[in-house]
Every structure is written in structure tokens, then in C-alpha cells.
Symmetry: C2
């Protein structure tokens, strides 16, 4: 009856230390940093409670004193890389500022390629997430639309950045970590795609594929997508 309550927890709401008992050996930041280090070096699958504990030099189960569930560890990681955002002074040009924010997010994801895989699952408003949102709203100050619309712009832009950069990274990662080379992988997939196209069942796709010359420039596609989204919110263009 007086057992531990089955109550939801937001890790950010839980105090970092409580005063009684031995002093905690680590801070939350230590733990996040260790997990990020592992994820950067070995990929997200290397982030296990055992590995993080070993990286910190403590027993596996000691981690659970700081992080009640593994999911919370992920939340710590996302918050940690959120600190890498440069919260620059808004210039007054909201389009340029938001583009800069987007490019920076993309750069962070390329530094920490596990971020896009983690983003969808992480929901909480961590401290650095809140700081970033506030910064985006500051950049959007000159934009004369309701606050709700600004929120929608930020969400749409962030979603697209995550999706696109995630794709870029997935494409690049498939090369690494596989026992075969990127060329082989591509060759096999393209051979299959070619065989499908050759059946004539997909005439329009065939046209689209043969029309394009050379490999797709993913970065250019990304930037065009950003511009288009900004266009869609720009009152000067309607």
C-alpha cells in the first residue's frame, strides 16, 4: 500500500541529489557525457547500461540510482547534444536565422549520427530543448504571424531537418558497419531496381530515374526543402 507509487516521472523534475546518504559519485552531466562518448564511438547500439556503467567505472546497477529507465538515459543524451546549439543573437532576418539554426542542427546530427534515430522517441522538454525553442522564438520575433503559427513553423522545420539528415546518415552508415562495401550494396539495390523498372510496370518512375543524370546531391535537396518551407510561412510571398 505504501509501496513505491506507479507514477510517471520526468527525469528533469527529479532532484539531482537529495542530501541524505553518501554523496553521489557522478552528476547527470557525467552520465550523459559517457553515453554520448560511447554512442559517438560505437553507435547507438553500443549504449547499454553495462557499457555506460563501465565507461563511468561503476557497477551496472549503480546507474539505476541516477537513471530509472534506459529511456531516460536517451533523454539525457538528447539534452546533452542540445547544449551544442549556438544561441546566437537574432539578426532581424528571421529566414536567415532559421536557416542557420537548421544547418546547425544538421551539423550536430552529423557529429552525433545517432540523434535522428533517437529523436522520435524523445518527447520531454529537457532544459536545452526549452532553451533552443526559446531561441527559435527569438529569431522569429520579426515574423508577423500568431505565436501558434511560429510554433508550427519550428516543428515543421525541425521535423524536416531530422528526417532529411536522418536519411543522409542512414545512407552513409549503410556503407560502414556492413560486411560489404557501399558500392556492392548500391550495385545490388540498383540492379534490383533496374530489373523492376525493366518490367515496364513503372513507366513514370522509369522516366524519372533515367531523366536524372549523376547521383542525387542530398545536401542540395535538403536546402531546397528548407527554402520551400520558409516560403510557405513567409507573408511577403503570399
Amino acid at each position: 500500500m505504501a509501496g513505491r507509487a506507479a507514477v510517471p516521472e520526468v527525469i528533469w523534475a527529479r532532484p539531482e541529489r537529495t542530501g541524505r546518504g553518501p554523496k553521489p559519485a557522478f552528476t547527470r552531466a557525467d552520465i550523459a557525457a559517457a553515453a554520448v562518448r560511447i554512442a559517438d564511438a560505437q553507435g547507438l547500439d553500443g549504449v547499454t547500461m553495462r557499457h555506460v556503467a563501465a565507461e563511468l567505472g561503476c557497477g551496472t546497477m549503480s546507474l539505476y540510482n541516477y537513471v530509472p529507465r534506459k529511456e531516460d538515459l536517451y533523454e539525457l543524451m538528447i539534452d546533452a547534444v542540445g547544449a551544442e546549439h549556438e544561441m546566437f543573437e537574432p539578426t532581424g532576418d528571421w529566414r536567415a536565422d532559421m536557416l542557420r539554426n537548421a544547418e546547425e542542427t544538421r551539423a550536430i546530427m552529423h557529429r552525433h549520427t545517432w540523434v535522428p534515430r533517437l529523436m522520435p522517441g524523445v518527447f520531454g522538454f529537457s532544459p536545452n530543448t526549452l532553451r533552443y525553442l526559446e531561441h527559435c522564438l527569438a529569431c522569429l520575433e520579426p515574423l508577423d504571424v500568431p505565436a501558434g503559427t511560429k510554433t508550427e513553423l519550428i516543428a515543421l522545420l525541425n521535423g524536416v531537418v531530422t528526417t532529411y539528415t536522418g536519411n543522409e546518415i542512414a545512407t552513409a552508415e549503410r556503407a560502414r558497419a556492413m560486411p560489404w562495401s557501399a558500392e556492392e550494396e548500391n550495385a545490388v539495390r540498383m540492379a534490383y531496381l533496374g530489373s523492376q523498372i525493366a518490367t515496364g510496370a513503372y513507366p513514370r518512375m522509369t522516366a524519372a530515374f533515367t531523366e536524372q543524370s549523376g547521383p542525387v546531391d542530398l545536401e542540395a535537396v535538403f536546402r531546397r526543402a528548407l527554402e520551400r518551407i520558409l516560403d510557405a510561412f513567409d507573408p511577403d510571398l503570399r
Copy 2:
């Protein structure tokens, strides 16, 4: 040296049966259907090789005759639900047609709530994915832009649909499956958010939050996002 080659495989390129030996007990469609049934009933985490095999009534390792890696099972699943797309006759109104496609994708995802979680990882061009792309291109026939731009439109739209519907589902799922109620969860999160806002560190967020009255209508936000993206590609609006 003459061991099994470490060569990439596209499951769709691998023939479904080869004529020699005993007849396979299942088709790929059987397996996909079983996996989808489990995922619908128990969630994606219920989809394990053991469970799928049990659902089919065969030994766990027999599954590996049909599906070399679990990842391929996921690809089968995505392809299976792709068959639920209605490939209607294009009306000539590309905006309306693409909106219909997007809404249908959203409906499919709400029927199979595990799809958004799986989408980012699945890369291959499965038969039904190809059919759907072809159908989208057919819908975009009246749109007078280069083929590459059409592809970008489709990708952007699909990405947004996945992201938004994934969010809708994640929000709804958090209520289920948790040992606490959605109200409790929300209360705790909102209490934390309120405490953060109360610090005054995020004035613009505070304004945005207090300005809005009532809960956010996620579906309306979704539809606005779609319209904006279509706007961005509409030559009649530039």
C-alpha cells in the same frame, strides 16, 4: 575461401522458392501477415522471431529460411501494409489527389500504429512502395515541374506525414501501455513545464503557451502543414 559470400541481399531480389527440396510451408505474404497481426495486437515489441514463428505454427529457426535477418521481416511488414493504399484514378487535380494520398497514408498508420517507428529504418524499394511511388507520379502528371521536383515533393510530403502521424500516435500510445493514466502523465509533464516557465527563463515560450486556449488540435495542425507544403510547390501561387 569458397565459404558463403558476404554479399548484400535485397529480400525482394531473392526468389520466393527454388524448386528443389520440400515445398516451403509458407509464402512471404503469410509471414508478413502473421507479423502484422502480432504488431497490430501487441505492438512492435511483440514482433520477435519466436512469436512470429509461433503464430505461423513453426519452429523459430525455420523462419530464417524465409527471412535472413529480422530487418528483412520489417521490410516485409512495411510492404504488406503498403498494399492497403488505394491506387485511385487520378482526377487531374494534383493537389486534391496528393492530399488524398497523404490522408490515406495517415489512416493506414493509425490502423497500424507501428509503421512510423519502422519507416526511417526501411530503405528498400519494395514492390508496393514502387507501386505507390508510381501512383503518386501519376497524380502529379498535371503538375508542370521537372520530374526531380516531383520526387522531392513526394519525399517531403511522405516525410511530414510520417513525422506528424508518428507524433500523434506516440502521444496517444503514451496513455496506453503505461502503468499510469494519460492524465497523470500529462499532469506531471505540465507541472514540470509550468515550473520551468515560472522561472521566467523562457519568456517567449511562456507567452506562446498562455496565448493558446484549449488543447492543440493535432489533426488540424497536420492538415495545415500539408497545405503549406503543397503551396510551396504550386506554380500558380508563386
